[in-house]
Each structure stands twice: as C-alpha cells, then as structure tokens.
C-alpha cells in the first residue's frame, strides 16, 4: 500500500504542483478479478494486447506477448473473453491480497 500524506504535507486547495503526476496514480487497485495466463497454452496471437482497453499488456521485442501490467489492469476480463485458446482465467483478487 502507498503511504498517504497528511494535510500539512500536500499543497493547498488540492492542487498538483508537478507535471506528469498521473503516472503515480495506480488505478489497478480497483481490480476485483485478476487475469492469470497459462503460459503453456498461449499461442501468442496478441489478440489480448489489441483488445485490452487499458493498453496494459505489452508486446515484447521478439513480437511475443509480454506480462500484464497489474498497476493499471482493472480486471475487466476482455482478454480472457477474446482469447481463442482460453488460456486466460479471471481469478478473485482477494486470493492474492496478503
């Protein structure tokens, strides 16, 4: 968990005094389901990369599918739905919370 700041540690009026700070806003913590890929079944068709609405599945330099960026994945399940070989399973996020 990120450490939240107190009233005295933040600028007044809710203003943000640095550029590009939205990168720090990890929206992935809304997720209630997490996509888990069966690497053995995956055929690297890249359909999940194309359909991900948050653009959080990258393509590696060798043209194969990369890891899912869980900082931004909201667990919508579109990747699991589009996968032609059904190698992505949506598992409850609660399982992974320590």
């Amino acid at each position: 968990m990120k450490k939240l700041k107190s009233a005295k540690e933040i600028p007044i009026g809710g203003l943000i005094d640095e550029a590009g700070s939205s990168r720090k806003f990890k929206t992935g913590d809304w997720r209630s389901f997490r996509p888990i890929i069966d690497e053995k079944k995956c055929i690297n068709c890249i359909q999940c990369v194309v359909y991900c609405p948050e653009n959080c599945i990258k393509v590696k330099e060798d043209g194969k599918r990369g890891k899912i960026d869980l900082d931004y994945c909201k667990g919508c399940g579109i990747c699991a739905n589009i996968c032609p070989v059904k190698c992505i399973k949506m598992e409850e996020e609660a399982k992974f919370v320590k």
């Binding site: 939240l4 700041k5 107190s6 009233a7 933040i10 600028p11 007044i12 009026g13 809710g14 203003l15 943000i16 005094d17 640095e18 550029a19 700070s21």
Partner: protein
C-alpha cells in the same frame, strides 16, 4: 491627496475597485449590485483602469470566469446580489476550495420567493459555510475601506472575501465618502504575487483535480487553519490600512458597550441607526450599547463572548431567518456566550426582511423592553401583529 465625494455605497465600492485596478473583472448585472459594476465600467471606459472587463451571460459564468483568471494568477474582483449569488453558489464553493483570493462585492438583497428587490441578508447568509471570509459594512465609507482591506487579506491567506453592504440603504444612498490618495492606496494594495499561477510555464500546476476518499478530507481540513490565519492577518492588514485612513479595523465595533447594562448586536446599516438611538437614550441616562460584528467569517467567538459577558440582557437583531433553527447571527452569539458561561438573558429579534424599514422608535422599543425585562426570547420587529 484624499478627496471627499458625495457618492453612493455602490460607487464607493467601485472607487475601491478603481484604485485596486484588478487584472480581471467578470460580472453580470443584478439589482442592487448593478451600480457597482456600472461605475466600474465607467472607469474602464475612461481608461482609469486597465482591467480585462468580461461581460458574461450569467453569474455562474461570472464566478467561473473569476476562478479561471484567479488560478491563472490574476488579481480578480466581481460583484453580485441575491439570485446572482444563488446562481453562482456552486462555483462560490469552488473558489474557496481551490483557495483563490477573489474579492466579491455583495450588495445584500432578500432571496426569492416572494420576489423582492430590497435588503435583507438571506443571500450572503446562505453562503456563510462555503469557506469565504465575510465582512459586513455599515455605510459607504466602510464598504470602500473594507474592499481595500479585503484584497490584501485575500491574497495573504489565499481565501476569497465577500464585502457586504446593505442593498439600496447603503448601495443607493448618497453619503460623504472620503476617498484616500490614489498613490498611497495603490502602494498599500501592492502587487499580487500568486505562487501557483497556471500561466507560469516554468512551474506547471494542475488546479481542481479529483480527490476521493483518500485526499478530499485532508484538503478540506486545510481551510480551517487558513481561516485562523485570516484572523491574525485581518488585524495586521488593518493596521497597515490605518496608516492611510486613520480609521481602525477591529473584528467588531463596540459602541458605548463597556458600561452598558443592555446591548443590541446587529450587522451593517442598522448598526448606524442603533448608534443614533443609543446617543439619545444615553442623554436620558439609559445604559445602552451596541456590538457590531464587522467580520462574520471567521467568527470571533472568544473575543465577542468576552465583550458581551457582563451585559445583563442582549438582543441580537438578524436581518435574515434560518427556518427551523436559530437565526444566523443569533446562533453565533449564543455559541460565543456559552464559552464564557453567560448568566444574562439573550433574545433573538428578526427584522427588516425584504427591506422592511426599521425605525429608531422600534430600536428604542427593543432597548426599553430589554431594560424592563419585557422582551420575549424570540421577537419580530416591524411585523404586523395577528389580530
């Protein structure tokens, strides 16, 4: 050189705006505020100010425009009344929440319905919890000087300020107003140096982002210490202004209160009428006095409580109601007196809604009833009695 001019309260506010020469002024006409902006527009047309005068299509837009300009780093002023203030309500809260030092002239007018153009304080009292500093002016002179004080106070604590005057009674009544030397006033007002201006590309900032359960509470909690800071700065800026005007700027005015047995607490122009009554009654040996709050937000509970604690009987006169609750000023005075364990009697009197006149005889009646212990706990002054 200072000059005495025969002008209205509205024109006096506009004279202060001329001397302040704000960068941006966005407003929409509404009775009885119109002559403030009308006079300011004259100054603008005559080249006496170089403000960007923006004629918007509503008060919601007027305040939105002020918020944008102020966030950009401009010195910003506006004026409104009545439904205008009600229409911009949403953005009035935004201005305070974003900590933008906008100064707004409020010419008090009774809220609808029934529709009415005359004075009561229901418009500004409706916005008393939105986070603006509120200063109430007794007459045109005070409206002028309070405006000069307000712009400095706002910019020091980064909170917006409303400078209120009574609609028609003050705004349209001609009085002798001493307008102080332009150069001295301009020097006092100085330059606005806003640290978070959007136009400063060397230091990019974002105003008004979303804050949810994680940060909204922290950000809102910053407004309370800012109001505490405003109490200190009000006195400091007031002392500086005193050097030009020779007048004092206390949190509240005490008129023959020190040895008074009974007292009236009232805002704005009615305080002037009350002083005249006190002078007459004092000649007959009646120990009557007045406390007139100038600063309503922040409210000076401790100081006002101490000033009133030895008075036997007090009547708080409100020019607005809070339906189903204590009237705005009465409620605050009652709070202040709780803290000093007040043992005397406190009364709430509602008067002047919709601009109904209040006469010296009626105020004298309140004093006499306080002295003879006949005043009811809640009373309406000037309301026709049921048969």
């Amino acid at each position: 050189m200072s000059k005495v001019k025969a002008i209205t309260g509205a024109e006096a506010a506009a004279e202060a705006m001329r001397q302040i020469n704000p960068d941006v002024c966005a407003a929409f006409p509404i009775t009885p505020q119109t002559p403030v902006m009308q006079k300011f527009a004259d100054f603008h047309a005559d080249g006496l100010v170089d403000s960007e005068l923006i004629r918007v299509e509503s008060e919601h837009s007027a305040m939105s425009c002020c918020v944008g300009a102020s966030a950009a780093g401009a010195r910003v002023m506006t004026a409104t009344s009545f439904a205008g203030l009600a229409l911009m309500w949403e953005i009035v809260g935004v201005a305070a929440g974003l900590r933008l030092p906008i100064v707004m002239e409020i010419v008090n007018r009774a809220l609808s319905a029934p529709i009415n153009i005359h004075c009561d304080h229901s418009d500004s009292m409706g916005t008393r919890d939105l986070g603006w500093i509120q200063v109430y002016s007794e007459n045109a002179q005070e409206a002028y000087e309070n405006t000069l004080l307000a712009i400095r106070l706002a910019e020091k604590v980064l909170l917006p300020v409303m400078v209120c005057q009574d609609g028609f009674i003050t705004s349209h009544g001609v009085e002798n107003v001493k307008i102080f030397d332009d150069n001295k006033v301009k020097k006092f007002v100085g330059e606005h140096k806003y640290p978070y201006g959007l136009l400063n590309i060397k230091k990019p900032v974002t105003h008004g982002p979303l804050q949810l359960q994680d940060y909204y509470f922290e950000t809102k909690s910053q407004q309370m210490p800012a109001m505490e800071e405003a109490k200190k700065r009000y006195i400091q800026v007031g002392n500086e202004l005193s050097k030009i005007t020779g007048n004092k700027y206390p949190y509240f005015e005490e008129y023959k209160l020190k040895d008074a047995k009974v007292a009236i607490v009232v805002l704005s122009s009615t305080a002037g009428t009350t002083k005249a009554v006190i002078d007459k009654m004092r000649e007959k040996g009646r120990k009557v006095g007045l406390l007139k709050p100038r600063l309503f937000r922040p409210f000076m509970y401790k100081e006002i409580g101490n000033a009133l604690k030895n008075i036997d009987s007090i009547a708080v006169l409100d020019r607005s109601e809070s339906f189903g609750a204590n009237a705005p000023l009465y409620g605050e005075i009652k709070n202040a007196l709780y803290d000093v364990k007040y043992k005397g009697k406190l009364h709430s009197c509602i008067f002047g809604l919709g601009g109904r006149n209040i006469y010296e005889s009626e105020i004298e009646g309140v004093f006499n009833e306080l002295l003879t212990n006949k005043l009811k706990e809640k009373e309406y002054i000037g309301l026709r009695k049921c048969p």
